[in-house]
Symmetry: C2
Subunit: 435 residues, 2 copies
DNA sequence: CTGTTAGCGCATTCAT
DNA sequence: ATGAATGCGCTAACAG
C-alpha cells in the first residue's frame, strides 16, 4: 500500500527514510546527553517512527568509539533502531554513510566499500550493512562521492533536440549501455543555435562528466577549446568529421546523398530535385546528391531548404513550390521521412502518380516509411548501433583514462543502407497498386 | 580557428585551461621554493602556455598572505600570468576557485560571490575576477557547490521514453523554463517497466535533485515511499491522478476517451472499436470511450491492445484483425496518431472509404495529422503548456521550500481539444476528395 | 579484511 | 564590501 508518509507528519522525513516498526528501542540516552535524550524520546513516543542518527551523530560517535567490552553492535535487527527524528529548525536532513556505519557497527569506509565493492568486504559485513541501508532507505550522495573520488559516473549527451525520432534510438541504446556499467547519462539540449550551446556546455562541464557525447556538427572555436581543455573523452555521433574533437561514430552524409542521387538516376529519373532541412548534415547529403547528378551531367538541381526540425506540412508546401518553379521534375529526395510523407500526400492530392510521374525518397526509415502506399524509399541508419558503439568507445577511454593518458583518435563508420521501395521504382515498371 | 590543443601537448591541459599569450611573466620563484621554480620555468620556456595555480596553490598562498606594502595584485592583465603547467604524475588538475582568487588578488569567497551574486560585490572586483575566470576558462565544480550549499540546481525528469514525439514538446518547454532560472534538467529514462524505474530513481536521488518531474503513471509502493522520503517537490505530468504524490499537471485521459466516443457516435457511427497501446493512460482513454458508448447503449466495443510504443505497422495489423473479427465496425479510435495513420493506410488498401465506411480518430495531433488525406481527427494536448506549468509550479515549491516547509497539493488540469477533421465526418456528408 | 587520516572544492556563518 | 574558519558527505591512501 502506497501511503503518503509526507502528509502524516508535520515535517518531511529525511531523504530516504520512512517509518518502520520500532521493535525494542535501546536508546541509551545517558550516553548521548540529557537534552538529546529528552527530545529523542519525546519524538519516539509521539511518532513511533524511524530513528535517525542525523544531526546527532556527534553524540553517537563517542559511544561507537568507547567500544564497551561486550558488544556494541546491534544484537538483533530491531534494537539497532536507535535514534531520533529530525527536530532542528533548518529542515530535515538526509541519512549519511556515517549513520549507516554507526547502526551497522562498522566504520564509514567499510560501508562505502560494502556498497561499491562488496567483493572486498566480508560477506557477513556486507549483509549487515545492506540490511541497515535497506531499512533506512539510504541513498548515497553522489555529489560527495564525485567530489572525493574525482569521478562523477556521469556522461553528458549534448544533442540539438530530443524531438527527432531518429536520434532517440541512439540515445536509448547509449543510455542502456552506460547504465549497464553504472554510469548515468545527463542530457543537454543545445537547440539548433550555437550560442546557447556554449552556455549549456559550461553548465554541463560544471558537473564534471567522465565523458561527453555530442551530436550535431559545427562547434565554435571557443567550444572546441573548452572541450579540449576538459580533458575527458568525447565522442561525436551521427557524422564523420574532418576535424574530430576526439572520437566519432557515424557515417558519411555526403555518401548517403550520393547514393540517393545515383539510385534516382538509376530509376530513370532525369530531373531530380531536393527538399532539405537547414542543418549541416542535411546539407552534406544534398551536396553528395548534387555530385552524383553532376557526374552524370545533371548540373541543375532544383532545391528547397526548410527550417529544422522539418515537418510533413513543410514537405507538402515545398513540393508545391518546387512544382510551381520547375514543373518538369520527376524525382524528389527529402532530408527526412516526414518531408517525404508530405511530398507523397501532396502528389496524391494533385493526381501525380508516385512513382510513375514522380519518385520520392526520404531519410531515416521511420516506422511508417515501410507502411505507406506506395512504400517509401529511404535510408536506414543503425541508430541503435551508433549509440551502443559510442558508449563502448567512450567507456573504454574512460576506464583507460584512469590508468594512462590519452588514446589515439578513433573514427567508426557504421555505414548506411539504402532501402529501395515502391516510391522510387525503376521507371519501366508501372506500379500495380495505384488507387 | 579551432586548434586541438590536446594534441599539441604531451599531457592534457587542465580543465578549462588553454594556452594564452604570456606577456611579462612575473614569476617570483624565490617565494615558491627552488624546486618548484625550476620545474615551472622549464615548462614555461618549453610551452609558453597558460600558467596555473593548480597543485601549487600552497606555495602561492604565503605570497598572497605576505601582502608586500606595494601591490601584490597584478598591475596589468599580462603579468598576473604566473604559474606552471601541471607536471605531477597523477594527471592534470582543474582550475579551482582558489586559483582564481590568488590571481585576482582576493579571497576565494569573494570570487564565489562575484560569480554567483555579482550585485553584492564591488564592480571593480567583479571585473577583475571575471577577467581571470575568462582567461583561465574556469568552470566551477558543481559537485562541490551542491555539497556545500545543499542545493544542486538540478531537476530530474523521469520519463518512460523520449522517443515519444508527444512528450518532447513538454520536455523542451520544461527544460527551457528551468534553464531560464538557472536550473539544469537531468533526464532519466525509466522504460516501460517499473522494475528499472526503481533502480533509476535510486540513481537519480543520489544526485540530490531539487525537484522531480514524473511522467508515466503507476509507481510501486516502494517508489512512492522513496519519493516521499526524498522530501523534494514532485510534479507528475500528462495525467491527473487520484493519488498524487505531490503536484500534477495534466488532463483526464478518461474524459478524452469519453469525448472521442461521443464524437464518433455523434458522427453517426454505430459500431465503434478501439486500438490501444498497453499503457495506463491509453487504457484510461479506452475506459472513457467505452463509458460514452455504454451511455448510448453500445455495450460491446471490439478492442485491440498493442505493446507500447505503438507503431504505424501495429495500426495496420490491428485494423486488419479487428475487421476479421468484427467486419461490421464503422469507426475506430486509436490511442496514437501513428496507429491511426496505419489504420487509414490499411483501410485505403482494402478499398474501405474513410470516413465514408469507417471513421478513424487518433491522439496527439502529431505534425502529419492535419496533412493526411483525409485529415485525421485527433486530440490535441498542449504539451508545451504542460512542460511550462510543471516547471513553474516546481520552481515555486523549490524556492518556497527554502523558506518554509511544504505546500498544499496542487492539481492543474490543462484540458484537451478534440480536433474534428475529415476522417470522422458526420455520416450524411460524403467526402469529396476520395481517390 | 577493516580502520585512520586527510582532503576533494565550494558555500555558509559570522566576523570585520 | 570582504575575509576566516568551518564543514558538506564521501573516498583515496596508507596502515594494521
Amino acid at each position: 500500500m502506497a501511503t503518503d508518509y509526507r502528509r502524516q507528519h508535520p515535517v518531511c522525513l529525511p531523504l530516504g527514510c520512512w517509518p518502520i516498526e520500532l521493535g525494542s528501542v535501546s536508546l541509551r540516552y545517558a550516553a548521548y546527553g540529557a537534552d538529546y535524550a529528552r527530545r529523542a524520546l519525546g519524538r519516539v513516543k509521539r511518532y513511533v517512527d524511524v530513528i535517525l542518527a542525523a544531526r546527532y551523530s556527534t553524540w553517537i560517535k563517542p559511544v561507537s568509539r568507547a567500544k564497551p567490552p561486550g558488544n556494541n553492535r546491534p544484537t538483533s535487527s530491531s534494537d539497532s533502531v536507535v535514534l531520533a527524528h529530525q527536530t532542528s529548525a533548518d529542515g530535515p536532513r538526509a541519512v549519511r554513510l556515517k549513520d549507516i556505519a554507526v547502526l551497522a557497527g562498522v566504520s564509514p569506509i567499510t560501508v562505502s566499500r560494502a556498497l561499491s565493492r562488496p567483493d572486498i568486504v566480508a560477506e557477513a559485513t556486507v549483509a549487515r550493512v545492506r540490511a541497515v541501508v535497506e531499512r533506512l532507505g539510504y541513498v548515497p550522495n553522489r555529489h560527495a562521492g564525485s567530489l572525493a573520488s574525482n569521478r562523477s559516473q556521469l556522461v553528458a549527451a549534448v544533442v540539438p533536440t530530443i524531438a527527432n525520432a531518429i536520434f532517440s534510438d541512439t540515445l536509448l541504446a547509449f543510455t542502456s549501455a552506460l547504465d549497464a556499467r553504472g554510469y548515468q547519462v545527463m542530457f543537454g539540449l543545445s537547440g539548433f543555435d550555437g550560442d546557447s550551446e556554449a552556455r549549456l556546455l559550461e553548465n554541463v562541464l560544471g558537473r564534471r562528466p567522465d565523458g561527453i557525447l555530442l551530436t550535431g556538427a559545427r562547434h565554435t572555436a571557443r567550444t572546441r577549446m573548452r572541450l579540449a581543455a576538459a580533458g575527458i573523452p568525447i565522442v561525436e555521433t551521427w557524422d564523420t568529421s574532418e576535424e574530430p574533437l576526439d572520437m566519432t561514430v557515424g557515417f558519411s552524409h555526403r555518401d548517403v546523398g550520393h547514393a540517393l542521387g545515383q539510385h534516382l538516376l538509376d530509376c530513370g529519373c532525369r530531373r531530380p530535385a531536393l527538399i532539405l532541412g537547414d542543418n549541416d548534415r542535411a546539407a552534406a547529403r544534398g551536396r553528395g546528391f548534387k555530385e552524383a547528378c553532376a557526374e552524370r551531367g545533371y548540373t541543375s538541381v532544383p532545391e528547397k531548404v526548410l527550417a529544422s526540425p522539418t515537418t510533413t506540412r513543410q514537405g507538402r508546401e515545398a513540393l508545391r513550390e518546387l512544382l510551381a518553379e520547375s514543373p518538369d521534375i520527376d524525382a524528389v529526395s527529402c532530408s527526412s521521412d516526414l518531408l517525404a510523407l508530405g511530398a507523397i500526400i501532396e502528389a496524391g492530392q494533385r493526381g501525380i502518380d508516385v512513382p510513375g510521374d514522380l519518385s520520392v525518397a526520404g531519410f531515416g526509415d521511420l516506422d511508417f516509411a515501410s507502411q505507406l502506399e506506395p512504400a517509401l524509399t529511404t535510408v536506414r541508419i543503425d541508430g541503435q548501433g551508433i549509440g551502443r558503439l559510442a558508449a563502448l568507445n567512450l567507456l573504454e577511454r574512460i576506464e583507460k583514462h584512469v590508468a594512462s593518458g590519452n588514446g589515439a583518435p578513433k573514427q567508426v563508420d557504421v555505414g548506411f543502407e539504402l532501402v529501395a521501395r515502391a516510391s522510387t521504382r525503376p521507371r519501366p515498371h508501372k506500379p500495380e497498386n495505384r488507387r
